[in-house]
């Protein structure tokens, strides 16, 4: 039991470490901005996920158990796509022409490049709908 | 380890001071933020360093890290946060009302914005 468990936990740790490293390596190695986005958002996530699993298993095997690592894992999995999407939007916004992108099958353009009237109108605060503390006495 | 901490304090302090001596409000604010990092680490170090001895009481543990400097640093962090927030808004006010973010105030930098722009 103990040896197998040790191997299992060690493997998880090593896998996690490797994926973490690969994620960061990709970040440095890949030369296209959009490509760089791939490495850390996935490899990194899985890397940390493995480490967290290792921590959990370690706790269940040698201590009184712990599952809260799941929380961090879930957290990372939920947030990583959003981070990636925003960073991708940054890349599109700052680096990419509309022409380089495939046209959207049905609509006019991609949202990041949609700096027309609609984008402005629907996005900024108005005069009279400020915060709840707008004008005290 | 001690050397690492000491040199970090030194580098952060030097960086903070250098930025505080810049001519625009923004780097100065960043400088004060670095200084507060530095001083927080300094204050923390006044209780000496310990690894893997958290200040949380556990059965059978006798060696704890010094909790008092930590409490002091916590207070200091919060206070610096408040101060930073205030200096940010004051600097912003200065910039917005005179269209100039120089921190030095000299002849010719008087109330430019308010008079110039009705």
């Amino acid at each position: 039991m103990s040896a197998a468990a040790e191997i299992f936990v060690s493997a998880l740790i090593v896998i996690g470490a490797v994926f973490t490293l690969v994620g960061s390596w990709g970040l440095v190695k890949l030369d296209a901005p959009m490509s760089r986005l791939h490495a850390p958002t996935k490899a990194g996530t899985l890397g940390v996920g493995s480490v967290l699993m290792a921590s959990m298993c370690y706790a269940f095997i040698w201590r009184d158990g712990s599952a809260h690592e799941l929380l961090i894992t879930a957290f990372l999995f939920v947030t990583a796509p959003v981070s990636a999407m925003l960073i991708a939007k940054v890349a599109i916004f700052r680096r990419t022409n509309v022409q380089e992108l495939p046209p959207p099958p049905t609509d006019t353009t991609w949202a990041t490049h949609d700096t027309g009237e609609r984008a402005i109108k629907s996005s900024s605060a108005s005069e009279n709908r400020g915060g709840n503390t707008a004008t005290p006495g | 380890m001690e050397l690492l901490v000491a040199s970090s304090v030194g580098v952060l302090t030097a960086a903070g001071i250098y930025l505080v001596l810049r001519l625009r409000t923004f780097p100065v604010i960043v400088g004060t933020a670095l200084l507060s990092y530095a001083v927080n680490v300094f204050l923390f170090a006044s209780g000496r360093l310990a690894v893997n001895q958290p200040p949380v009481l556990r059965d059978g543990v006798t060696a704890y890290t010094d909790p008092l400097p930590q409490a002091l640093v916590l207070t200091a962090i919060v206070i610096s946060f408040g101060m930073t927030a205030v200096v940010v808004i004051v600097a912003l006010g200065a910039y917005l009302s005179s269209q100039d973010d120089h921190i030095d105030d000299g002849p010719g930098r008087d109330d430019v914005g308010e008079e110039a722009q009705p």
């Binding site: - | 409000t25 200084l35 101060m83 105030d105």
Partner: protein, 523 residues
Amino acid sequence: MSHWIIAPVILPAMMAAFIVLVVRFHPLLQRVFSLAGTLAILAVAAGLYWQTSDGTILLYQLGDWAAPFGIVLVADRLSALFVLLTAVLAVPVLLYAMGSGWDMRGRHFHALFQFQLMGILGAFLTGDAFNLFVFFEVLLIASYGLMIHSGGARRFRVGVQYVVYNLLGSTLFLFALGTIYAETGTLNMADLAQRVAALPVDDTAGVRVAAVMLLMVFAVKAAILPLHFWLPAAYAAAPAPVAALFAVMTKVGAYAIIRFFTLIFPPDLAITQGLFDSWLLPAALVTLTLGMLGILGARRLDALVAFAVVGSMGMLMTSISVFTPAGIAAALYYAVHSTLATAALFLLVGVVEDRRAGNALGYDPAPPLPGAALVAGFFFAAAIAMAGLPPLSGFVGKLLILDATMADPRMAWVWAVVLSTSLIAVIGFSRAGSAIFWKAHAPDTAAVATMAEDAPPTPALPMVAIGGLIAMLALVTVFAGPLQRNFAATAAQLFAPGPYISVVLDTPGRTITHDADSEEEAH
């Protein structure tokens, strides 16, 4: 258990919170509560002063923890004096703010005012070095808000400098406290006194650095050269009542120097010998000179008064830096006097600014001030006091300081600087006063007619407030004898810190009862 000693801290804090929470939309109620709170503080301060006036040292153990493990408040003669001074100052300043309408020219004046009082009073009362830092920060951050109250480009520009400079000061304070703790393992001031005295002679470098760093922190507050640069522009740009309240803020620095360098690092302590004897007095004299030169060199009345603050702090520090009972006693008298005098001057600046046409605070001719006679009279009185001319308290203070420095080997320097700078101040004040109050345009009738129509009725409350301050100056003058006796006793108490230390450290705190909590083990 008497809770009065903490009232000067809790009362304004709760009052400010209450104002923010409940009456932030009601100007009148804000004023009522703010004034009521301030008057209550005054009453409590008077009570504390009376209680400590027989040499009693009051101790308050926060959280019932004994010193040095918890924080304590200590009211001795010195603390009570400054608490009372602050409260005495706060009332007319607040009245002025209300009467002149300053309090409503921006948001949250009253809350910030109360918080400012809390910070200042807390700093005077605390017996703990780190807690002093906390209250320094409270008073500072409130002062930032008050300084830029109602905004304006000038105030913001100067405000940034004011804030940044004091951030540097606060950072230095933390460095000093870290060093102090690292060297002694304690933060309570009485405990520090004992532990510093017991430090081995072969390990003095750290505590010496801590001592001078603290001195510099307090010197920033007290605006001692070359750490005074934050003050002139900030005080000149601050709204009149705020600048007047700030008159006592510099005294926090002076107070802290007196406290730390009589209690923890007394002048005869071996391990801190030679730290600042050589330069503190010269620095104070240069500060005095520079302040007075500023009075003469200023181009505007607000700058003039701001430099008067610098000068008065130089004078104060001159007396403190000889570190003798007579010097401290003289300094205390001068502190009281200069606080009231500079406050009165700042309020007068406000009146002039509000009433005088044109470049109101410049020395160019302008149409005569409405109600000039009274304003000029008050200015004359306050300027006399500030310049140290008879018959007001400045003269008595100056004599006390000259007398106190008579035994010092550097007496000739002190006297030469004190007396010659007085002359410079006289020249400066007379120039400014005659330019502002005498050198008016021949009033052209049309302008007077329109002014008479346009001018809002000049409110009486500001003049009442200023008159109150002047009257207090007169009282301080008339009762100089009893006051001096009291301050001499205060100085004597400071130079014999045994009772202070034993009251703080020998009073038992709470007894830990949960030790026997049989139901519960730690884990």
